[in-house]
């Protein structure tokens, strides 16, 4: 569905003497197969939206080559536009307009008849739980409804490939969970290929078959969520000890089973331990023998945040 090689985009800032080239995206290779749901994960400013805007013909790459939905990005942009749906971060409907007429007009711009656009629009409103919103001004819709309307707008011409740019940013948890169902339905019920960007790890984890991690304009990893998590060695075991004297004892004991260094922070001692659950009974006995008394113990499976931290040396949350 998408084949991109060396796709890059740089901007120039400043004038004359102060003129500097800023590489927003410096050469990414992307390959997405039909029927896949692929997540593009990275902090703000990593180059997600720039890449997406290149793949949707809105921005011409300064280097590289790509075919999207079977058409060449550079020579057949109009055919690419006809074949893809794009749901941008900033919305797609005027606040003053009526929801139903916006989707009909949008469909007509794709060359389908008014009648066809109305039928398709009504169907999509039905599928995306927007019943009764057809005659409503869009400004009276809730955040989640407005976002679903944007998705309906992007689907009105029945595209094979759908791009979603940060689809759940700014939504409350319930609306997010609800939208996730709709996004997975895109594939299961419509057979669409989905390419989405997000800076939420749980979102990428819950929705995507495959995740590409982008940082500073470069793809640093591309794999299934589980494989990515496996790259982080071991589960995180965190011990909270009862007093200062216990810290050293607990750290020494934990070091015997740890994969890497043991970190201490106040009364908290933590390290990565392979198969944390299995190691636990022995670890507890050893801690007891060493005379370290514990307040609490926690074993956590690696998250994509840990993956991101391992690959980039930064936490996704810090960079937000």
């Amino acid at each position: 569905m998408i084949q991109a090689t060396g796709l890059a985009r740089s901007f120039f800032t400043g004038r004359r003497a102060g003129r500097a080239e800023v590489k927003a995206v410096s050469g990414v290779d992307i390959s997405v197969a039909e029927g896949e749901i692929v997540g593009f994960l990275g902090p703000n400013g990593a180059g997600k939206t720039t890449t997406l805007r290149m793949l949707t013909t809105l921005l011409t790459p300064t280097a590289g080559h790509a075919t999207v939905a079977g058409y060449d990005l550079a020579t057949e942009p109009v055919k690419v536009r006809q074949a893809i749906g794009y749901v941008s971060q900033s919305g797609s409907t005027s606040s003053q307009a009526i929801a139903g007429s916006e989707i009909v007009d949008h469909g007509m711009l794709y060359g389908i008849s008014k009648q066809q656009a109305t039928t398709r629009g009504r169907e999509l409103f039905d599928q995306l739980d927007l019943d009764g919103m057809w005659n409503r001004p869009t400004k009276t819709l809730s955040g989640g409804q407005r976002r679903r309307l944007d998705i309906a707008m992007g689907l009105v011409h029945d595209p094979k490939l759908v791009f979603l740019d940060e689809p759940t940013t700014g939504l409350d948890p319930q609306a997010r969970a609800n939208l996730w169902t709709h996004i997975s339905d895109l594939r299961t019920k419509r057979g669409s290929t989905v390419f989405l960007t997000t800076h939420y790890l749980d979102e990428a984890d819950a929705l995507c078959d495959r995740i590409m991690v982008i940082d500073h304009g470069v793809i640093v990893a591309s794999d299934t969520p589980n494989q990515l998590k496996r790259q982080v060695s071991g589960d995180l075991v965190s011990l909270t000890v009862t007093s200062e004297e216990d810290v050293a004892r607990a750290a020494a004991t934990l070091a015997t089973v740890a994969e890497g260094d043991v970190a201490t922070d106040g009364l908290l001692v933590s390290a990565r331990v392979r198969d944390g659950g299995v190691a636990m009974p022995d670890l507890l006995r050893a801690l007891d023998a060493a005379g370290a008394s514990l307040e609490s113990i926690e074993v956590r499976r690696p998250t994509l945040d840990d993956v991101f931290l391992t690959m980039t040396g930064r936490s996704l949350r810090e960079s937000e």
Binding site: S88, S90, A97
Partner: protein
């Protein structure tokens, strides 16, 4: 065919949006109407000195052009709102022609100005405007076409500055000297020579002068010729700049 269909879709959408808030059409008309009612009578006793038999053949063409220039320079405000709502980007990922995206909007502005202009001329008649019917119609058409040119440029400006504050500053900065130098309130013929020379550099002045000639029935003369000439130049330039901006990537 495809192009006209797309232009039509955008035109109808814009018209529908405007009709949802008809108060703006009235507010846009209010300023020239106030000028006509509150300033027009002051010109009546002066009209002989200004070289016109009828004060309103002098004044109504000016107001018509003012309506065109002022109305159209500010169309960008609506566009910035749409830009912020993501509408422009959403339209640009459709296969529709970029010129159609612009032209549909411009045509709506021309229709809106035509309605306001017709009302203004009607009011003019009520106050005592008398002139050549053909000339008035041709002058009216010129003003409507001029609206198209300025609106296209106004959209290009809006997509370039992207914020209402900057647009207001630029539009006000441009419109005030434009209004003063194009002899909209008083003809530039009574100005000192240096001021006349400066105003000669302003295309809109020639359009105002030409429309005045048309209103008095002086149809086949240089005034209307230059008015038509400059209107065509401005339309071509406006649509070119506008399309270029709609096509441009970071717009």
């Amino acid at each position: 065919m495809k192009f006209f269909r797309e232009t039509g879709i955008i035109f109808r959408r814009q018209l529908r949006l405007t009709l949802r808030e008809p108060q703006w059409i009235v507010i846009g008309l209010l300023q020239p109407a106030l000028y006509l009612v509150l300033f027009g009578p002051l010109l009546e006793p002066l009209s002989r000195q200004l070289g016109a038999a009828n004060a309103y053949t002098l004044f109504v063409p000016g107001l018509l052009v003012q309506l065109a220039v002022f109305g159209a320079l500010f169309v960008g405000f609506g566009l910035i709102g749409e830009y912020r709502d993501g509408v422009i980007e959403a339209e640009r990922v459709t296969p529709a022609s970029r010129t159609a995206l612009l032209l549909g909007r411009v045509l709506k502005d021309m229709l809106q100005m035509a309605i306001q202009g017709a009302i203004l001329i009607g009011l003019g008649f009520a106050f005592g405007l008398r002139g050549s019917a053909v000339g008035i119609i041709v002058g009216f058409i010129l003003a409507v076409v001029l609206t198209g040119s300025i609106a296209a440029a106004g959209y290009a400006l809006a997509l370039t500055v992207k914020t209402e504050d900057a647009l207001a500053a630029v539009a006000n900065g441009v419109s005030l000297p434009l209004i003063l130098l194009s002899g909209i309130l008083l003809p530039m013929s009574i100005a000192p020579l240096w001021l006349q020379r400066v105003s000669d550099l302003v295309p809109v002045k020639h359009i105002v002068t030409g429309i005045r000639d048309l209103f008095t029935g002086d149809i086949f003369s240089w005034g209307p010729f230059w008015a038509i000439f400059w209107t065509i130049i401005l339309v071509v330039a406006g649509v070119w700049i506008g399309t270029r901006t709609f096509r441009r990537q970071n717009a």
